[in-house]
């Protein structure tokens, strides 16, 4: 094994960019699991849905994948509120989140995956955009736009959400529902309505995350499962509900995965997230910046 400096440097830089993308993928679960306590393990399925919508818009009408995702945002938001309403009526109100609620999301994950296979087949799908394939040459390091654009979109989304949650009235209401649902009800606010909005937001992030996913790599229906480990590793490592912690965790995971892929081969990369997840759960379950 030949550890050269510029190979390592490139691995770290692309890991950082990859980490930014992981933050975009995880931010939805950061809201649903971290703030609302809804363990939405079907989140990767919604991300894949976003990827396929971007793919269809791109191959049929030549629309830029990110533009397509922005157009699809309201649809994803509506889908999210509908899923939460169903979840609330069927499980949360009956206080049956643990066994049946989890199984519900698992079933949802599976149904979306199989439906995507039925409609699009198991082949890899990709998108085309003028910036894919080019890279920014900075002497020692190359910054491929394929990673740079998703990184920028992801950061914009995460920072925007963080601003929304800490500055706006509705955002503060969402944080309040995360802290004390009963108190919110005593203030004559409807916690279910606020949770519905928040869950809609969390699914809406999947639209953009899906578009940047398909820019980074070709997509096929079963890769969603790989992301479950990554997403939850990032959320747990970052400390549930803490966005800055989540971004740090995402970048850490991105760098470790990128180094693993560079020096041991890409087929080992999926195992990294699990190791990180188990180690965090065993050593520091509250995460890096946990409450």
């Amino acid at each position: 094994m030949d550890v050269s400096l510029d190979l390592l440097l490139n691995a770290i830089i692309s890991g950082l960019l990859l980490g930014g993308f992981y933050a975009a993928v995880s931010v939805g679960v950061g809201i649903s699991f971290g703030l609302l306590d809804v363990v939405n393990i079907a989140h990767p399925a919604f991300i894949l849905l976003g990827s396929y919508i971007a793919n269809q818009a791109n191959t049929r009408w030549g629309v830029d994948p990110i533009l397509a995702a922005v157009i699809a945002l309201p649809g994803f938001y509506a889908l999210g509120t509908a899923v939460y309403q169903l979840y609330y009526v069927a499980f949360e109100r009956r206080d049956d989140q643990a066994l049946r609620g989890l199984s519900f999301f698992f079933g949802l994950l599976f149904i979306v995956e199989v439906a995507l296979i039925l409609v699009f087949g198991v082949d890899h799908q990709s998108v085309e955009a003028p910036y894919i394939g080019k890279s920014l040459d900075l002497g020692l390091v190359q910054l491929p736009f394929r990673l740079l654009v998703p990184f920028l979109v992801a950061m914009a989304m995460v920072i925007g959400l963080q601003m929304f949650l800490s500055r706006s009235f509705l955002g503060r209401a969402i944080q309040a529902v995360a802290q004390d649902q009963l108190a919110l009800r005593l203030m004559a606010a409807d916690p279910v309505r606020i949770k519905r909005i928040a869950f809609g937001l969390s699914i809406a992030t999947a639209s953009l995350a899906g578009a940047v996913l398909i820019i980074i790599q070709p997509v096929e229906p079963s890769i969603g499962r790989e992301y479950i480990g990554r997403i939850f590793a990032i959320c747990v490592l970052g400390g549930l509900g803490s966005f800055p912690g989540m971004v740090i965790a995402a970048m850490t995971l991105g760098i470790v995965e990128s180094i693993t892929a560079t020096f041991f081969g890409p087929s080992w990369a999926p195992a990294v997230a699990f190791t990180v997840l188990l180690a965090t759960l065993a050593v520091r379950p509250a995460g890096i910046l946990g409450r």
Binding site: V39, I41, L86, A90, R94, D96, A98, L99, R100, L102, S103, F104, F106, G107, L108, F110, I111, E113, V114, A115, I117, L118, S222, R225, E226, I228, G229, F232, A233, V236, G265, S267, W268, P270, A271, A273, F274, T275, L277, L278, L281, A282, P285
Partner: protein, 320 residues
């Protein structure tokens, strides 16, 4: 009914079933029967942790694969071992994997265990894809003997018999658990873990017993798989289909009793086998892709989870 009596009745039913199938001598019946029984064992194993204790294990394929790949390794390293011994070894290793995962995660909130098991399946698949001794990504051929030991006839019949015996053992254990101190402890954890802990139920120890038992049974279900399929690769072993079926069968049948997974396996497994071979497709002049077959199970599961939380057993109880 005493446990011994239950075991005797099950054995008698199984014996009648096996003799009848031997008499009919329709080889497909053994293949379909094996598939249904495999899901019965898998579903009952899952239910010990999921249904009785209330902890959801999504890493069914991980435990299933530990059983299957233990057989592959033993087939290469010690081919003289009889299959039941291989199964016991595979089941034990799967039980230890359950114990380890439980020990690392069960001191936290239960949902972390579920997430960890999901990730466990991914990492194990990565390990096996990169492990050349068991075939890596190419897969491994495990050529079964031509004829069955002890009973003679086709080897598939022997595999069916072994799975039948495994089903009896697993069902007797599951039923005995329901009415034992251990089982009441499991139920207490499921209903209110904090209250159980406060009244002196050793929750962590009980949860670890449940994860080990459950993992071991799922390993047993997977162990004969290589001989049944003849060829094994990581993609087919870690097919999400197994996990969905293992969850769907208890959830559809009912998670509170041993009868739930049996009803679920008979209905869902039977339905799948029927869809596969029936000439429904010819009648309707359509072709049903095999994924649609799997989709039905997922949709059924979600429907039951929403509309009939107690499963078919629960529907039956309400009427009474």
């Amino acid at each position: 009914m005493r446990n011994a009596a239950f075991a005797l009745i099950l054995t008698a039913v199984a014996a009648v079933l096996f003799i009848a199938l031997r008499w009919v001598n329709y080889s497909y019946a053994f293949v379909a029967g094996y598939a249904v029984l495999q899901f019965l064992v898998l579903g009952t194993g899952w239910n010990i942790l999921g249904g009785y204790t209330g902890y959801v294990n999504f890493g069914v394929t991980a435990f299933f694969a530990i059983g299957a790949y233990t057989t592959v390794v033993l087939h290469k390293a010690a081919p003289f071992l009889p299959l039941p011994v291989m199964m016991l070894i595979g089941g034990t290793i799967a039980a230890l994997a359950g114990l380890g995962t439980g020990y690392l995660t069960l001191r936290l909130r239960g949902v972390f265990f579920s997430i960890a098991t999901l990730a466990l399946a991914v990492v194990l698949q990565t390990l096996i894809t990169n492990w050349d001794f068991v075939g890596g990504a190419r897969g491994a051929y495990v050529i079964p003997p031509r004829t069955a030991p002890l009973i003679g006839g086709d080897y598939k019949q022997y595999l069916f018999l072994i799975m039948l015996i495994t089903s009896i053992v697993v069902l007797v254990v599951a039923r005995a658990l329901e009415r034992s101190t251990l089982g009441y402890g499991f139920a207490a954890i499921r209903d209110d873990e904090a209250a159980a802990e406060a009244t002196g139920v050793p929750t962590l120890r009980l949860k670890l017993i449940a994860t080990s038992l459950s993992g071991g049974f799922m390993g047993l279900a997977g162990a004969p798989m290589p001989y049944f399929m003849g060829y094994l690769n990581s993609t087919s072993t870690f097919d999400l289909n197994y996990a969905v079926n293992a969850l769907a069968m208890p959830l559809i049948g009912g998670t509170s009793s041993w009868a739930g997974p049996v009803i679920g396996a008979a209905l869902v497994g039977g339905l799948q086998e029927w869809l596969r071979v029936s000439n429904l497709q010819e009648w309707l002049h359509i072709s049903i892709p095999s994924e649609a077959n799997v989709l039905i199970v997922g949709v059924l599961m979600v429907t039951f989870v929403i509309a009939a939380p107690q499963g078919i057993v629960g529907l039956f109880r309400k009427k009474r």
